[in-house]
């Protein structure tokens, strides 16, 4: 056992903050996407078909040719119930993508639409999955923890 000075606490907190200063990249302007998501129950009770419509937030043009994966987290359980992202396939219709989600349980899920390719972005949509019912979660609607 070795005794060190009282300043140890301060000394060991500083290295936490300092290196992070150098991590910043310069920001650059980019295209931003907007998404509209609808999901329907398909097959099993926890299987859902989701349709995502992507548009350019500025021009409202459909966004085609984007690589899209859909992951999901349960907001009530951060860090766990992290779904393996499903790959979405673009439809005939430009800017429309389809993916199949297999959830762990019913409840509110924050869907993460991960865009890559021509633009890299993430859009988060919170949806409530309750059996056949899937709806957007709006404020004041009474938030449920999860579907146990």
């Amino acid at each position: 056992m070795k005794y060190q000075s009282k300043a140890t606490a301060v000394r060991w907190l500083m290295p936490v903050l300092l290196p992070a200063v150098f991590l910043a990249h310069p920001a650059f302007a980019q295209v931003r996407a907007k998404a509209d998501v609808t999901c329907r129950q398909a097959g099993g009770p926890l299987e859902y078909d989701c349709i995502v419509k992507l548009i350019n937030a500025r021009s409202s043009e459909p966004l085609s040719g984007v690589s899209l994966t859909i992951g999901a987290d349960m907001p009530s359980m951060p860090g766990v119930h992290h779904l393996r992202p499903a790959v979405a396939i673009e439809d005939q219709e430009r800017g429309t993508y389809r993916a199949k989600l297999v959830l762990d349980m019913h409840g509110d899920w924050a869907l993460q639409l991960n865009l890559s390719g021509p633009l890299r972005d993430r859009i988060v949509k919170v949806l409530r999955f309750e059996g056949g019912e899937v709806g957007e979660v709006k404020a004041g609607q009474g938030r449920k923890a999860h579907g146990h």
Binding site: M1, K2, Y3, Q4, S5, K6, T8, A9, W12, L13, P15, V16, L17, P19, A20, V21, F22, L23, A24, H25, P26, A27, F28, Q30, R32, A57, T69, G71, D73, P75, S76, M77, P78, G79, V80, H81, H82, R84, P85, D104, M105, D108, A110, Q112, N114, R120, D121, R122, V124, V126, K138, A139, G140, R143, A145, H148
Partner: protein, 302 residues
């Protein structure tokens, strides 16, 4: 490395911060159900700093840590005289209060025609720093683990330092520590502040990892888990809580079949361990024994 694995590992890393935060307080003998509050404060503070004020990630995380430390100090002073169950309940009440305040917290500004900022129960979207600055998921994971490594190194130093000994003395017997001349109150507040900063950094990372936070994320479930991670993994070393996180998120997430039964398995594991190994897998005895073995009978450094 695939996207999913990066996602799971990033989650393990981020949750480790709040687990370490609860662990630090366990070291000083306090059971808290409220570290998620500082995780939340750090997440909102860092998110506001980068997404609304245009700060860099480093500055945002620093701001989150500072906000966590400050609020923990403010809570630490009035709860100083509380112990055990009373302290646990006070921290829980505070954390719930913070969560409800965030449900009412609206602060948005218009950026490029989009409203950005915390919007009550609807959450805080578009904390898009890593996308705007073209940081890949992998790079962000490395940032998380870089910071975690620094924190762990800090804990290793702490365990060998005078401050670490003081924390352990207070944790084992506060009155006895006072009788050795330790200013218990001062060090308890210091521990609370450091723990608040740790949770704050974790929250900041979480906000940037998911780009989206909402008050529900920070409910008592997260607090109970972060406490349980230390109790499962062990109180003998800072690697204990990380082991706890790995067991919970790593193991159960990797075996999807178990995922739906997570709470049952996890709860059972906590109950079992509290009976057979009350100070966790990597407890003081084991760590002490490993330490003695590593010194290999060499003359003890004094």
């Amino acid at each position: 490395m695939d996207e999913y694995l990066v996602g799971v590992l990033s989650n393990v890393g981020v949750i480790s911060f709040v687990a370490l935060s609860a662990y630090l307080l366990l070291l000083t003998g306090e059971i808290t159900f409220g570290q998620q509050a500082f995780f939340a404060i750090g997440a909102y503070a860092a998110g506001i700093a980068t997404a609304m004020w245009g700060w860099t990630l480093a500055a945002g995380l620093g701001f989150g840590a500072l906000a966590g430390a400050l609020s923990a100090t403010i809570v630490g002073v009035p709860t100083l005289r509380l112990h055990g169950l009373y302290f646990a309940i006070a921290t829980l009440a505070f954390a719930e209060m913070v969560r409800i305040l965030f449900e009412m917290f609206r602060y948005q500004i218009e950026i490029d025609g989009e409203w950005v900022g915390p919007n009550g129960a609807d959450g805080f979207r578009d904390i898009r720093y890593i996308f705007e600055n073209d940081i890949s998921g992998m790079e962000f994971m490395l940032i998380i683990y870089g910071l975690l490594t620094v924190i762990l190194a800090g804990f290793m130093l702490l365990e060998r330092s005078r401050l670490g000994v003081i924390f352990r003395m207070i944790g084992e017997d506060e009155v006895l520590a006072g009788l050795q001349g330790v200013s218990v109150a001062r060090y308890r507040i210091l521990a609370a502040a450091i723990a608040g900063a740790l949770a704050g950094i974790g929250g900041g990372l979480y906000a940037h990892l998911t780009t989206y936070i909402e008050p529900r994320i920070f409910d008592v479930m997260l607090g109970v888990h972060s406490l349980a991670y230390g109790l499962i993994g062990g109180l003998g070393t800072a690697l204990g809580p990380i082991l706890g996180v790995l067991i919970d998120i790593g193991l159960l997430e990797s075996i999807r079949a178990l995922s739906g039964y997570r709470m049952i398995i996890f709860g059972g594991l906590v109950a079992l361990l509290l009976i057979v190994r009350p100070r966790g897998l990597l407890d003081e005895r084991l760590v002490h024994r490993i330490g003695v073995a590593l010194r290999g009978g060499r003359k003890m450094r004094v």
